[in-house]
Symmetry: C2
Subunit: 233 residues, 2 copies
């Protein structure tokens, strides 16, 4: 984890605080959400974590909405560095596999932030979460062009790829975020809903509960790649 947001240390203010800055605030916000979840992130709480009153943050960030936008931007920059810089995939199939793995890694590293990447209104309507930074999308299209994709094909690939990632990773992060997977909760839930009315769910319960996200992701991605292959002619 050599990400910019996990940097600690550095200069300190007289009060024992790290000096405030936009980056320091955004990094702390990400750490906060990672630990406590988005619902608990308030300007006041965030200020407190930085050793400062909430009002001090407004010198660096226009408001809460822009704070969240900034969080998304920081993660997209991280994704860019992680997936686009020095990407030397041997084929477009490898290229997509590498990128998909990178986005999934991001989602797994920040499961409680990922919904933000996935759901914040994008800057332009044709930017599809979770692939929502101009720089990243430009590099993506350029990459595909380098592998011989036509304009039409690379746009289609962008769309399909984003849709695929959104569905899979939103479900995976939401499962990862859900309560400490206490099987007792399942039982309680089932019982409170009159188990008897749902015989198939009852029978398939154990099978439903198995975590298959990795396999599903790989299988659906392979399938998506096949679909794109067909479209290429």
């Amino acid at each position: 984890m050599d990400s910019i947001i996990s940097q600690h240390g550095g200069r300190r203010e007289p009060g024992g605080r790290r000096p405030l800055s936009q980056m320091a605030i955004l990094g702390e916000a990400i750490r906060f959400i990672d630990e406590q979840g988005l619902e608990r992130l308030t300007m006041r709480q965030l200020g407190a974590r930085l050793g400062v009153e909430a009002m001090a943050l407004y010198r660096y960030i226009p408001g809460r909405e822009q704070l969240l936008d900034g969080v998304v931007e920081v993660l997209m920059d991280e994704l860019y560095r992680d997936t686009m810089v020095d990407n030397d995939a041997a084929s477009w199939q490898d290229y997509l596999q590498t990128l998909a793995a990178g986005v999934r890694r991001l989602a797994q590293t920040h499961p409680r932030v990922f919904p933000l990447v996935a759901s914040r209104p994008p800057a332009a309507p044709w930017l599809r979460p979770p692939l929502r930074s101009l720089r990243w999308v430009e590099a993506f299209l350029e990459g595909l062009a380098g592998y011989g994709f036509s304009h039409t094909s690379s746009v289609a690939a962008y769309r399909a790829f984003a849709t695929f990632l959104l569905g899979h990773l939103l479900l995976e992060t939401s499962a990862a975020t859900a309560m400490p997977t206490d099987p007792a909760d399942d039982i309680e839930f089932i019982e409170s809903n009159d188990l008897a009315d749902y015989p198939l769910i009852t029978e398939l319960g154990p099978e439903l509960a198995v975590d298959m996200f990795g396999d599903e992701f790989d299988a659906a991605l392979e399938d998506l790649i096949n679909r794109l292959t067909v479209d290429l002619d």
Copy 2:
């Protein structure tokens, strides 16, 4: 639109109000979100729309979180009636097509509520949004069993189907919800981001901006069905 939530009229209170009830409140909440969006739905605003102070709602609903859960439940009941009752598809392929169309219809009817269906923590971790009601999932599994699916295959189909719907419909509703598609915004956005740095996006702009959700949905669904076919042996 014969949905239960669009019923008006009926008995009135002396004050000129419709009588309060859980259903009346949930229905009004859905109408409110449809019109104004989730961000503006507060207990106080909702009360005002029902001709009542916010505190009166607590007699019928435990709190705001449960209000939102209730909204999701009402829409899932609507989906159940719309897709599961009297479903007489001739094949499992038709069956999935019918169901997919029904979920898409729901998303298009309530584009600003759909994110709630998609993102609220499900009651059990193995329930996948947007297919999150026990009753609906039971019927789904039963339906597939009727077409000869093994338990393993129907569980796999449930997972893949939910993932597919989540990705596609979240993107489609989010695009539908975005600003009144003012092309001037795009231009302004592009210009503010130094267009020159993103030549491919610039060139492909018009192609990116074309709405293709219908075609994409159909193509990806067909593909999903093919994938399931292969898995069946």
